[in-house]
Point group: C2
């Protein structure tokens, strides 16, 4: 599949072998001049574009070939929650998922940035309880649910949000499952040097084809390390989820199981009124997406064997979602009819407080991208 599909829709420089190179950026000039990434999103109001969002993106195949790119795709980026599906690989590979009879729903939640709705927190809570653990064992911190209705309901009941409402509670439950199964301490599982995080680092290196031992890193919102990885390498890892045939067999099996859980439960991955859940429910398996904080997003396109990674330079979520919709449309990864039935995936109306539509957030990225 890797080499026998042809995208006449894809421009750009089809060079192979770079995305999984162990060499850092070779000083290649930014495609868009020294001053920045291209404009991917425009925010209009009446007769004018009011704001713009610049960003970088790469479309990569499972051999590391870059099929399209916007801006500098070599510089390291924090993929944040977009790499949760990679971080779930050890949960499967260590045997922890089988040992604790982890369900498809639970595996999906391990890949989720969920809304904190009851449908989400109940899955995490039951999974923890089955392992003899409690929300107090989660080291992600408490979070007011992303879902406003759920947050308001908590407030009206006089309840404080808990670690279960943290959008990462499923991922952290998966971390605890792995630590328990391996006989490692559960306390401190978020630390860079804990075996849980070191195992993830190794998996991430293999999937991205990068030596990350000296990569810049920081602490994510949920307290675990987030690693600086070239954007093209994140897209490459996603392509290998789309098309795992060149992976070692055990890894290919783990990746396939994760991809199937991700596909089967789009609501658990995010939730009500989210771009990720909406596009995955509409696309019926043709596309998997996973948003991360600070404007990061990825897509896995199983039918095309491609991975996509996207970083909005300024970190805006409103731009990330619409840019991802536009990229997926440009790649013809889903049936064109989807865009007619779900126009909100390609543009977000801006309304006045009185409810009138006064502007829009819309895609402005060039397709095909400017050649390198």
């Amino acid at each position: 599949m890797t080499n026998d599909h042809h995208h006449d829709c894809c421009g750009g420089d089809h060079h192979h072998g770079h995305a999984h190179s162990h060499h850092p950026a070779e000083g290649r000039a930014d495609l868009d001049g020294p001053a920045g990434s291209p404009i991917l999103i425009e925010v209009t109001r009446g007769g004018m574009v009011e704001s713009v969002h610049r960003g970088r993106a790469a479309v990569v195949d499972a051999r590391g070939g870059i099929l399209a790119q916007w801006g500098d795709v070599r510089a390291p980026v924090y993929a944040r929650s977009s790499v949760k599906p990679l971080q779930a690989i050890p949960l499967v590979e260590t045997g922890a998922a089988d040992a604790f009879a982890v369900s498809t729903e639970e595996l999906a939640l391990a890949c989720a940035s969920h809304n904190g709705e009851e449908r989400h927190t109940q899955v995490a809570g039951r999974w923890l309880a089955r392992m003899g653990l409690s929300p107090a064992d989660l080291e992600c911190g408490a979070q007011i649910p992303y879902d406003v209705e759920t947050g308001n309901a908590l407030l009206l009941r006089g309840e404080a949000p808990s670690t279960l409402h943290n959008n990462c509670s499923g991922k952290h439950t998966g971390f605890l499952a792995t630590a328990l199964h391996k006989g490692e301490p559960t306390k401190g599982y978020v630390r860079y040097d804990h075996p849980v995080q070191q195992r993830i680092l190794g998996v991430t290196e293999q999937m991205t084809g990068q030596d990350l031992s000296r990569a810049p890193w920081g602490i994510d919102g949920c307290s675990i390390p987030t690693i600086g990885i070239p954007l093209e390498a994140v897209a490459y890892a996603m392509a290998r989820i789309a098309d795992p045939r060149d992976l070692p067999e055990r890894r290919a099996q783990a990746v396939t199981r994760i991809r199937e859980a991700w596909t089967a439960h789009p609501y658990l991955i995010a939730g009500r009124d989210t771009f990720d859940t909406a596009i995955m429910e509409a696309a019926g398996g043709a596309v998997l997406v996973k948003q991360g904080a600070e404007g990061f997003g990825v897509a896995v396109l199983p039918r095309l064997g491609l991975g996509v990674a996207l970083k909005i330079d300024d970190g805006a979520a409103r731009a990330r979602d619409i840019a991802m919709g536009a990229l997926i449309r440009s790649l013809r990864a889903v049936d064109d009819a989807l865009w007619t039935t779900a126009p909100g995936l390609l543009a977000t109306p801006i309304t006045s407080r009185a409810g009138a539509e006064v502007g829009t957030v819309r895609a402005a990225l060039a397709w095909p991208p400017a050649a390198a």
Copy 2:
């Protein structure tokens, strides 16, 4: 004052007479190359800059001389709520403020984007009642208060937010006062062709030195027109508030009265936990600021006779506030001790959900700016 102060802190191209030119942009090249505005703000996390915010800014004196500029300051921008102090001028000049015995607090609230706290809504509510009007006469739409605690209190009392909680309720009450005083219909006062808005358009043209009759415009969040104005011209208008001596006498008096109200009531202008209120309370009259939506902001520096306008290209509020703090510090508009006692005006910590400090939003703008 205009010509007898010297800023050895200010770089850039000191050309005079442009900001109040009636000519649109003359095709001058963007200072920072075709790809965009300079980076004004960096968002760091651990060992890396994770996101950046680009923007444009101008520092202008009351003769229209540009003392410093970043990026393209000629292109039209929507100044949004930053021009509320200009929009309050007719309230004073028509005699409406005197006829309705408008207090200094009420005049400040007419310039505000307030938090919807009781301190704010009570001022608007009493002012409306005194004119025989009610919140139903405000055409700004209802808004959940910016202040989270106030919003939660409403929810717990089972009350819906009203038009009084709209951050613009003071400004709209001022519009109604002017319409009533002039015998104009109060219904429809938000429309572009209503005398209230046409009067504001004329005042804005005079204060900015622009012919705005064919300027692009859109509808603001509170339903009134927002006009596309060159950024440097917005800064020029603010400089004329700082130093109104060259204005016609009646306008100078109105502007001075507005500036004094703005100075006297920093809490009414914004509210709890806001950059605008915090810096104005700390600066004790040395600086006035007014944020607008989509990353716009202005400052009036009365002691220096300068105006500042700032647009974050991507519309981010987090970047606007920190960039404004950095600009005000670079201009030495306030005592240096302020920055030690209020470091939050120059950088915002980013924390994990568990409460650890994991990054920062910090200024990255060059000072002095690159020469044109």
